[in-house]
């Protein structure tokens, strides 16, 4: 206070005061400059590596170029799986005005399902580099594409991109879905088993059938472009490029015309037809009825369509040819005969009196023959021709399960021999060990008796049956079944020697010709069960079968008209032709077909078609160019 009244000011003191403040300020300046330098040191020296990486991640982007998928052809060059361009609607989230605006504007132009919006929202939440577009709707129809295209000028951030997609030209006819399979959208589960980087730009991945098994072959190798991008995602410079390697084309053994014909011949019946070329193991037809249109899955099947397929009582998604477990029924008899001969329990000359039933012990359970009065005195050949149940009851009982098991497994029963399709079932070739493990019970003679006519525990799949028939047709010199004939123009090869010949050598090799003779007499003999196949200009060997869907109790009669169709007997048929030099071996089953007549008739038409080229005219579109 008193300072105010002083008359003179100490200018020197004031100057010193300010000067000292200037020095303090100067020191502060140095300190803060030191802070800046420390900060720069921290960023540019201590964390240099981190920021260098970040900077490179910013500027370098790997662009994956999906390769064109390999095509699938049948043996005559008919394209069964094709690529065609489609247009997809993609959105760059950074460039749109707002999400609600996008939803409002687009929904006024084309239909976008809630499903598609949900998927879009999900992808929006995932990590993505800025300005990378997200697919909102794939497979625009031409009308949708046009509507978007004319409005594109007011749709900032929305683009239409062209991509190749899978197309199954004959998908609508449903015959090929279970053999060719289909591709579908890549799920996160799929990505666990493939190289994520390679599939970055890809839309689809093979899910089932040939598409699934040969995924890596058909896919090819993704190309990778290393590019320098700016902050808006625009490519400034290409740093390096590895071109994509297109997927390899696959030519199958399958005959598309035969496949479609066989499928159609099944009519409204469920079941399966498998035809194999015994000289190669090549699968000529692989029918599972009913089928479905695989194109549904490419487009991204709607939930409604999927549940319809899934919940259908006819199980269209179920691959009967590979996974359908059926009792082989009487079609097992030629194999049983060979087993009996092999192990000395049977001979061609030994005579047997076939009554209407068979008993293991006198007074025990009666195992009935399909013919009430029995067949009288017969030998092994006649037992096959007339399909004498009692003969095979007693033979199986005499042999016991172990020789049967060991012998049948040489034909591929009880295992999967299918070389290039996934998901085949191994069926069931029972053994003592199996029954002990499964039921903790000993093997009873009655179990053997049932197996003798292909019933009881024994279960085989159509592909197994067809393979076994092809083994007889080839006189033991047979090949495991396969789809692919050539891959990328070169003959398909398989791991190890499984793709090579598998020779079943019998103790008496003449038994091959004798069993073939017996089987051809099934057709030619007046009493042969397959005599409805007579009248062809080539020779056929075959065997009928009637599979029980449910067991008749002792003393009960099978009366078809009293049973609902679902409980009707399965009709089975195995055959090959021509007998002397077989070109085709077949197994056909009509579920609840009532008996072997339906599959036998089918077989005749298939043979006429394949061997004599007698196809109905309407199948000319599947003829291909090689015939």
């Amino acid at each position: 206070m008193s300072r105010r009244h002083q008359n003179f000011r100490n200018y020197r003191k004031e100057k010193t005061l300010t000067q000292s403040r200037i020095i303090i300020a100067g020191l502060l300046v140095l300190l803060l400059a030191g802070v800046l330098m420390a900060r720069l040191f921290y960023l540019q020296v201590v964390q240099y590596k981190l920021y260098q990486t970040k900077s490179d991640e910013n500027r370098v982007m790997l662009v994956t170029m999906p390769p064109p998928r390999g095509l699938i052809y049948d043996r005559n060059g008919v394209v069964l799986a094709d690529n065609r361009p489609i247009h997809s609607l993609t959105v760059t989230p950074e460039r749109i005005k707002s999400l609600p605006w996008l939803k409002k504007t687009l929904s006024g132009m084309i239909d976008i399902s809630q499903d598609e919006w949900d998927q879009f929202d999900e992808k929006l939440k995932e990590y993505r580099r800025p300005y990378q577009s997200i697919t909102l709707k794939s497979q625009l129809t031409d009308a949708q594409w046009a509507r978007i295209a004319v409005n594109l000028y007011k749709l900032d951030g929305v683009q239409v991109e062209a991509q190749l997609t899978r197309y199954y030209p004959y998908g609508k006819d449903k015959a090929f879905a279970h053999s060719i399979g289909y591709v579908g959208r890549i799920t996160s589960k799929d990505l666990e088993r493939v190289d994520k980087q390679a599939y970055q730009g890809a839309l689809f991945i093979g899910k089932t059938g040939v598409e699934g098994y040969y995924e890596s072959t058909l896919f090819g190798k993704a190309g990778i472009k290393k590019v320098e991008v700016n902050a808006r995602g625009r490519i400034m410079e290409e740093l390096s490029q590895v071109n994509p390697v297109p997927g390899k084309n696959i030519h199958l053994y399958m005959d598309a015309r035969l496949q479609q014909y066989a499928y159609d011949l099944m009519g409204d019946y469920k079941g399966s037809v498998v035809a194999i070329d015994p000289n190669t193991g090549g699968i000529l037809a692989l029918v599972s009825k009913p089928g479905f249109d695989p194109n549904l899955f490419v487009r991204g099947i709607s939930y409604k369509n999927y549940s319809t397929l899934r919940n259908s009582k006819e199980l269209p998604l179920f691959n009967r040819a590979l996974r359908g477990g059926y009792p082989p029924a009487s079609t097992i008899k030629p194999f049983m005969a060979l087993a009996g001969l092999e192990y000395g329990f049977s001979s061609w000359t030994e005579r047997y009196f076939a009554r209407g039933y068979y008993q293991i012990n006198p007074g025990g359970r009666r195992y009935r023959d399909w013919k009430r009065g029995g067949h009288g005195w017969i030998n092994l050949q006649r037992a096959i021709i007339e399909s004498v149940d009692t003969y095979f009851y007693q033979l199986a009982n005499k042999m016991g399960v172990t020789p049967i098991h060991d012998f049948l497994s040489r034909f591929g029963f009880g295992k999967s021999t299918l070389l290039d399709l996934d998901g085949a079932s191994v069926g069931l070739l029972p053994s003592k060990e199996w029954k002990r493990a499964k039921y903790n019970q000993p093997w009873y003679p009655g179990d053997s008796v049932n197996i003798g006519i292909g019933q009881g525990f024994m279960v085989a799949t159509p592909i197994q049956m067809a393979t076994a028939v092809s083994a007889i047709a080839a006189r033991g010199h047979y090949y495991y079944p396969r789809m692919a004939r050539t891959i990328g123009g070169k003959p398909a090869t398989f791991q190890g020697d499984s793709g090579g010949v598998h020779n079943i050598i019998l103790k008496d090799q003449s038994n091959w010709e004798k069993i073939v003779t017996a089987m051809s007499k099934v057709i030619t003999d007046p009493k042969g069960t397959g005599r409805r196949l007579q009248g062809t200009d080539y020779t056929i060997a075959g065997k009928t079968g009637t599979g029980q869907v449910f067991s008749l109790q002792d003393g009960e009669e099978y009366e078809a008209d009293k049973l609902v169709k679902r409980l009707h007997d399965h009709g089975l048929f195995i055959a090959f032709a021509p007998v002397e030099k077989p070109k085709i071996a077949i197994f056909a089953i009509f579920e609840n077909g009532g008996g072997a007549a339906l599959p036998a008739d089918l077989t005749k038409k298939i043979f006429d078609a394949y061997i004599d080229g007698k196809y109905p005219k309407r199948y000319d579109y599947l003829k291909g160019k090689n015939q």
């Binding site: 300010t18 240099y48 920021y51 500027r59």
Partner: protein
Amino acid sequence: MTDNVYKRALTFANARLWKLIHVDILLLGALLLLMAGGLVVLYSASGEDMAMVERQGVRFCIGMGVCLGLAQLPPKYMRRASPALFVFLVLLLIGVLLFGVGAKGAQRWLALPGGLRFQPSEIMKILMPMMIAWYFSDRQLPPTFKEVLSVLALILIPVVMIAKQPDLGTALLVAVSGIFVLFLAGLGWRYIVSAAVLAPAAGYALWHFMHDYQRQRVLTFLNPESDPLGSGWNIIQSKTAIGSGGLYGKGWLEGTQAQLNFLPESHTDFIVAVLGEEFGMLGCGILIFSYLLVISRGLYIAGTAEDNYARLLAGSLTLTFFVYMFVNIGMVSGILPVVGVPLPLVSYGGTSIITIMATFGILMSVQTHKRAR
């Protein structure tokens, strides 16, 4: 030998000729060094846009003219004119609030005839310390409590008006330039300590006056990664640019962050990130050293000034110049929030170059109008 060279340099600097034309050759040299370096970086930051570099060069020339012109004016005239100019500028600020033009919701400019625009708040950065220095020029130092209050009131009037435009960055810088005068005048340490204690409360109050975009800047500063594509983008990218430069940098025109546009505002507020990326810590060190040269010369001029007015004004202007530099590099390197403060003499931009060069004109005037001893 080196001693000799140093002496010669000093002699050169003190040469009568320079004094006669009122040029401080050391300050001028340091400024030219900064400008030249700035143009080199700008060429790269602008995407090799020579036209932009030329425009900046033209601004430098105008700025240099203003600087050398002001240097001719003895400090005593400045002192006498200070209060009137201050009042006039406050009136202009009122004018800005009433008739101002601007962009992005802020009114900062007055439209002048002939399509020119004029930003009074920019001039206030100089007039504020002039006014406070004038206030203390015939008062005894250190200031009394009453004087401190009056000065704070003087500071607050234009600051509030500038903050209302709204231009918080400039308002704070103007306030700081006034407070520097107060500090240099010998503001008691108890005031400083109490202010430091009260600052958090003031900060809270300030938060309530902030616009949403200003709050967002502070929030983004506190956690830039929270919004990597939105408001955090700038700071993440500038840190990446600086950090990836390393010790020696990627080389001139070779900075990928800057050249590929990952770095926003690379030629204006974030230009130091370009420098950091292309010239590394070495380049940044040279830049900061150049600033320290300018600042140390400025502080020397202030310390040796003849009267309180010149001393306080020169000191405050120099320190404010440092604050620009510190705030800008601090924000670009991520230790301060993103406020729109350009890097003085390096960032591309018009008005700020002129005002900054004007401050150096004042410094030169203070230095060269000393009576010979």
